[in-house]
Symmetry: C2
Subunit: 333 residues, 2 copies
Amino acid sequence: MRTGITIKDIAREAGVDVSTVSRSLSGAYGINADTRSRVLAVAERLNYRANRVARGLVTGRSHTLGLIISDIRNAFFAEVARGAEDAARAAGCDLVLCNSDQDAHRQMEYVSSLAGKRVDGILMNSVAVLDKDQKERLEAIGIPIVLLNRTPGPFSTVCADNKAGGRLAAEYLLKLGHRHVTHLTGPAHHGNLTDREKAFVKAMPPNSVTVLHGENTFAGGREMAQKVLAEHPRKITAIFAGNDTIAFGVLRAILDAGLKVPDDISLIGFDNVELGSIVQPPLTTIHQPSYELGHRAVETLLRIGRKEATPEHHVLPVHLIERHSCGPTKASS
Amino acid sequence: MRTGITIKDIAREAGVDVSTVSRSLSGAYGINADTRSRVLAVAERLNYRANRVARGLVTGRSHTLGLIISDIRNAFFAEVARGAEDAARAAGCDLVLCNSDQDAHRQMEYVSSLAGKRVDGILMNSVAVLDKDQKERLEAIGIPIVLLNRTPGPFSTVCADNKAGGRLAAEYLLKLGHRHVTHLTGPAHHGNLTDREKAFVKAMPPNSVTVLHGENTFAGGREMAQKVLAEHPRKITAIFAGNDTIAFGVLRAILDAGLKVPDDISLIGFDNVELGSIVQPPLTTIHQPSYELGHRAVETLLRIGRKEATPEHHVLPVHLIERHSCGPTKASS
DNA sequence: CTGAAAGCGCTAACAG
DNA sequence: CTGTTAGCGCTTTCAG
């Protein structure tokens, strides 16, 4: 009912066998040019549209990829998704969008569901560093996977150089004289954020930084900032946010508290989301190539999918974007 | 190779027929509780995962929906997409993401591709108001469609009350004394934006507003604003942007020109994107329920999909969010 | 070069 | 309650 016109109809109409139709359509070898164009004409006339589901059933390839991310509303992920979709489209694949909200259970449900649909590959920024059980289940699924965050293990990964980014942020703040800083970030054991945190803390002098974990969202950033602001009204001179979205929330809280950035407190983010340039003050941040990340990730997904082969690990460079949310400490040294 | 374990394997293993397995799995009627649990146990043990593609082939339902939007990087669409995905998931459907970049050709390719995949429905913010030919082609496809912008015709629509929004913006600006305003918006004949434009112009005094069409993106907003600023340095006292993303671009250009908002020029947007509250100055805008839009759209999509039935038209309310990007004119009255 | 036949993995009557 | 029989729409040997 739904479809109507199939390969069979056009076979009958063109007076040939279905296999001939199939071959003509797929532009295959060994087919008379005349028959072929006749078949094509009929297909055209009947407004035929091949059923990709049926084709997928026999070929075993669905030409569909799954993308599991925390939340598409985070501008960083939107950018990643766009890069991924462009690359997928270039390869003739569809991209199904899944928002995990950082929920491990939900993430697994998506994987399961995608597996049931026999997607050709899954791209995901895993909720947290995967435990042994999860890794095994993922491997058992037998679908190519590319992780958007560095996790030791059998899976390919594509991610930014988070450690270098954390270090960059530390060095910059240090150069400006900050010695009492706090790092506001997402849940602990989140691959990328954790790398940033570790590298940041390591690059700062001992005991100069306190870190607070929360939701890595606008709301989360605001809440964490409200907390620190309430507890340490004077002491801290700078905040390093785990990502720009958190930074925006932090900025919001600082503004609400009647304080000024960077006069009262410096703020540096991570991601370099487009809107960072128009908030007030424009946000100093660490740039990571979000679009590229998504693009590269599906490229490697497609590559490893083909040859049942060795995992690849790509790490993309980051750099500092100096705008106006950071300034020198007055109280320091 | 890809899959391995099928219904057949578990039939053999459990010593029953495949149809029995199928029935057990789908929790169907008329099946011995014992056999059923035995089958389930085997399935569990073998880590069986039903092939939804095969199932779709026979049932005719793919449990997949398509979402075609301009660009997921636009925060408004990200919000819509999230609402759509949540609703789709609640209904057991996957959502495939398509970015049309406002390109009519690309939009049609996506529709075609989705149709080939026999999606259960398509959700799209059509590039422009559809012409007769396009409408016919869409109808011929025979897949339920819900449009995210109001287009007269046979398709269901879910959208915000754009006209009311345009009027609201005009009334507000008028109240503040503005009599020389410009409206910076996207391409002409874009359903939603056009409605806003028309209502806005109509609610303003004759000849008080000039409108400029461009790209409805951050870059587009910046470019249009640069143009206006260069040509009418003094005259205009307020700008109404077709959406917040454009407004952000406009803001950027105004700031770059060394002017102040709202002192030198007032700015009002449309959408009420989250980040509007932290730009400087916080953006006054028209709120539309983006998440709801996406959510409602898939709900109606699913509904009209079931009964081959009458199109539905939903229009969701908007309201003014008064922040600090608009002020009274000094030069006026 | 083209037709016949088998089958991808699953569901859906129809008997028994 | 369960097995048998047909397919869904397409690709793919295998003959001819």
